[in-house]
Amino acid sequence: MTVLIFKIILVLSVFGITMLIAMYSTWAERKLSAVMQDRVGPNRAGPLGLLQPLADGIKMFTKEELIPQGSNRFLFIIGPGIAMLTALITGAVIPWGGDVNIGGESFALQITDINIGVLYLFGVVSVGVYGIMIGGWASNNKYSLLGALRASSQMISYEIAMGFSIIAMVMMTGTLSLREIVAQQDAGLANVAYQPLAFLIFMICAFAETNRAPFDLPECETELIGGYHTEYSSMKLGLFLFAEYINMFISSAIMVSFFWGGYNFPFQHELGLSPNALATVQTVVFFGKVFAFIFLFMWVRWTLPRFRYDQLMNLGWKVLLPLSLLNIFLTGVVMYLTGKLN
């Protein structure tokens, strides 16, 4: 019973933290872009514009809701819902920290540790495209439809290279459970030391999967107005935009767990901390690493121009896919030579 209560609290807090981080990512993104472009950025609502996300949220919720004529009402409403749902449920398998000890019982700071965690993540990511597709199609607008089609073909293309890059890592770890993948990085080096190429491919694919610049062709303003969310207004638009920020947060967390040691940090067992204190520090370290990646996402967005669509497809199919296959081959050869096979 205590496990259940703990899990419920964990689910709610993960939900709350995810929302909070997504909210303040919008603020950080605007501040960061302002710094990069020598502007001030939001500075009216609260000190340093810190209340800006709240103001935006209130604005989104109170704006008029428009459902365009000739659109498919049901699918139009359900589209952003699916986008949000798939963005939120990926957080379930991510290990946020080590074990905590409450009243003599040990709990893992992870909502669920299924033994196919990696596959679960891929399943959810691959389903995530439906929100955009359905929303874009139901809008009954050519720009929306084109944005949706771009998003779906882009996500399908990059999923393949993403999956193959992870296979090389899974070959080394020998497990699909995220908790074990993270725990294995406690003893030795982080996985990125052994699989730099896999990490690079995975990161590029993560950019493409989250529809972030330089891969934000589904919402390319110069060609498609707003892309798949052209017709959306009010909080339904907010959900689409929010889902993008949540995806960014979650994919940063996944990259940290897979390649950068998760919640582990050097010399963590030499500090002589009690389990609870250690878990707290680990969680802080984990979020620190995640924020570094979110910063990278934003940095890239405000630095690099957008790809052309054929360049995007060429990169996915002719560069990343062969590279990831080569990486699997190399991993196999090295594992065979070092006798790590079996």
Binding site: I116, Y130, M133
Partner: protein, 166 residues
């Protein structure tokens, strides 16, 4: 009633109703969406049978890749007005006969299946470890041959599409 039984009936109901809607619904987009829901319900059944790997791969491959491409094509086609299906009596007869034959085969196979061999010891037969072990030891040759078959299908598809362009 144990929770697994409730889930079984719920998932079965969802699967059957959605599968029927796939055929009944007029709008092809709704039809495809119902098919996706059917896949999810079947993946839930795999989960209940302890075949997590199969469930996850089922979602990734069918719901995540194949149906996305289906939906993609349907949306593209819908762009140029309503296509409208042309119904032909011959097609209807053929599809009724083949569907009936499939039903017959499935019923016979279900009736003759020997369920007594299924024991509790087979509870983890669907995990990644046991699946990988049996695929790469016991069934290595059929596995590799089917991989080759897929490869040849891929090469064939590329060749066919190249021919059309020139």
């Amino acid at each position: 009633m144990p929770i697994s039984e409730i889930l079984f009936w719920f998932l079965s109901a969802v699967a059957v109703i959605c599968a029927m809607l796939v055929v009944v619904v007029k709008n092809p987009v709704y039809s495809a969406l119902c098919l996706i829901l059917t896949f999810f319900a079947i993946a839930g059944h795999y989960f209940l049978l302890n075949a997590q790997f199969l469930a996850a791969v089922h979602i990734i491959v069918y719901a995540g890749a194949i149906m996305v491409l289906f939906l993609y094509i349907i949306m593209m086609v819908n762009m140029h007005g309503n296509m409208g299906f042309t119904k032909r009596t011959l097609f209807e007869i053929i599809s009724a006969i083949s569907a009936g034959l499939l039903l017959l085969v499935l019923t016979v196979a279900g009736k003759q299946a020997d369920l007594s061999q299924l024991t509790k010891s087979a509870a983890n037969i669907g995990t990644v470890e046991s699946l990988g072990n049996s695929l790469f030891n016991e069934f290595l040759l059929p596995f590799e041959i089917s991989a080759l078959l897929f490869l040849s299908a891929m090469v064939g598809a590329v060749l066919l599409s190249k021919k059309q362009l020139s």
